[in-house]
Amino acid sequence: MAKITYITHDKQNHTIEVQNGLTVMEGAVQNDIPGIDADCGGGMACATCHVYVNDEWFDKITPKEDGEEDMLDMAFEPKKNSRLSCQIIVSDELDGLTVNIPSKQG
């Protein structure tokens, strides 16, 4: 279990407990957190679960695999700290992770 905070574009904080093994995307979708569309369902094929990861956490989460950076090219306003939330798998170590959700996904 990890407590994950999703900050939506309108600065609303949503802190929820997400089970280990789920992705940060699934945590958001299952808890109706707005702003993460995840159109392709977690296949790293659509870039609509794009989030910004706070600097302090960015280096702690598993690095991007091949293909994620390519998909981020298509994301809405990608930045250096952009990730696809479907590629971040929740574990105890991620307790306290904070991600910011962009104003839109496309």
Binding site: D39, G43, E69, D73, P78
Partner: protein, 339 residues
């Protein structure tokens, strides 16, 4: 006006197999899709990715699955309307009157929505003011390359579309190519070509830059781009082209009076009918208790929706269930010999 027993919206795997099921039981159908090719998400998002959970097919790619489904409907004469998006669905007596963005119209008792997550549309520039110039000096696809001759064109993106057009337009235009990082995801040969043209000064390459503003009174005059290191540049340009791939938008489906929740359409699990009689939803776009977004579920849903269509398309006939292994009439429709 096209008259048909059933109109399928969406030419992805579910739409294709639903068409197969309709034809098998002796109903006509036509298919509309906003993409310029058949296959839906399978062909647009993951043509090369292997799929491992199609029953009796241990492994196949999105493209192979699409090709197999196209082969499976080859015996039938099914009309496809590609690069068209259904905009309107209106009730007219016992029929639905359907209209696409190209003005094609259909009259049908049955509409089957197999629309996945909606229609594919180009992803646009995040800078809102770009809307003002869209289709005049801001484009997301190119229909007539002649208009760019002798002009300055700023191309954004790092995939094959952006790179191919940068190479092509650099022959007769001044080309700026802007991408958010140093790496490109396009084919290596094209990337090498672009870098060579940049060395020769035929393409102005700006990597780690993104658009921050677009300016112009009546016509586009310049764009601002900003780097990761906060360096700001203003580029004089006549055109801005964005190639950021496609995104799925629910679009006009939201206006057809259907019960929609979280971008999916509520259906029953007997006919896969929506709250509107004669409108069905199958595949990823439908929702019901226990719904799984799997291709195999879409096949099942399509098979049942097709049977439900029979009643409205042939009100005076009774549908009789038959197997493909033994039915003479099914074999006739498939054009295969009966035993």
């Amino acid at each position: 006006m096209n008259k048909t027993d059933a109109l399928i919206i969406g030419a992805g795997p579910t739409g294709l197999f639903t068409a197969h099921q309709l034809k098998l039981i002796g109903l006509d159908c036509e298919v509309v899709d906003n993409l310029d090719k058949i296959g839906g998400q399978c062909i647009e998002l993951y043509p090369d990715k292997p799929i491992y959970d199609i029953p009796a097919v241990p492994e196949c790619t999105g493209e192979e699955l699409t090709n197999n489904l196209i082969n499976q409907i080859k015996p039938f004469d099914i009309k496809f309307h590609l690069s068209e998006r259904v905009d309107e669905v209106k009730k007219e007596g016992d029929n639905w009157l359907v209209k696409t963005n190209n003005g094609t119209t259909f009259q049908t008792p049955n509409v089957i929505i197999a629309g996945g997550v909606g229609s594919f549309e180009p992803r646009k520039f995040p800078v809102k003011e770009c809307e003002k110039f869209e289709n005049q000096s801001v484009f997301y696809s190119i229909k007539n390359k002649k208009m760019f001759e002798g002009k300055t064109v700023s191309i954004f993106g790092g995939g094959d579309s952006a790179l191919d057009w940068a190479v092509e337009l650099s022959k007769n235009s001044k080309v700026n190519l802007i991408h958010r990082r140093d790496d490109f995801r396009g084919a290596q040969a094209t990337v090498d070509n672009v870098k060579e043209l940049a060395k020769q000064g035929k393409i102005n390459l700006f990597t780690k830059f993104q658009m921050t503003a677009i300016k112009g009174e009546k016509k586009l005059e310049s764009i601002d781009i900003k780097s990761d290191d906060k360096e700001l540049k203003t580029l004089q340009t006549d055109y801005a082209l964005g190639f950021f791939g496609l995104i799925m938008q629910l679009g006009p489906i939201a206006n057809w009076g259907l019960n929609i929740d979280k971008k999916t359409i509520e259906v029953d699990t007997e006919k896969f009918e929506t709250n509107q009689k004669g409108i069905y939803a199958v595949g990823d776009i439908c929702s019901y208790p226990g719904k799984l977004k799997l291709i195999l579920s879409g096949f099942h849903e399509g098979a049942l929706a097709a049977r439900a269509c029979f009643k409205l398309a042939r009100p005076n006939e009774k549908y009789r269930f038959e197997f493909t292994t033994s039915s003479k009439s099914i074999k006739d429709r498939l054009g295969v010999k009966s035993d």
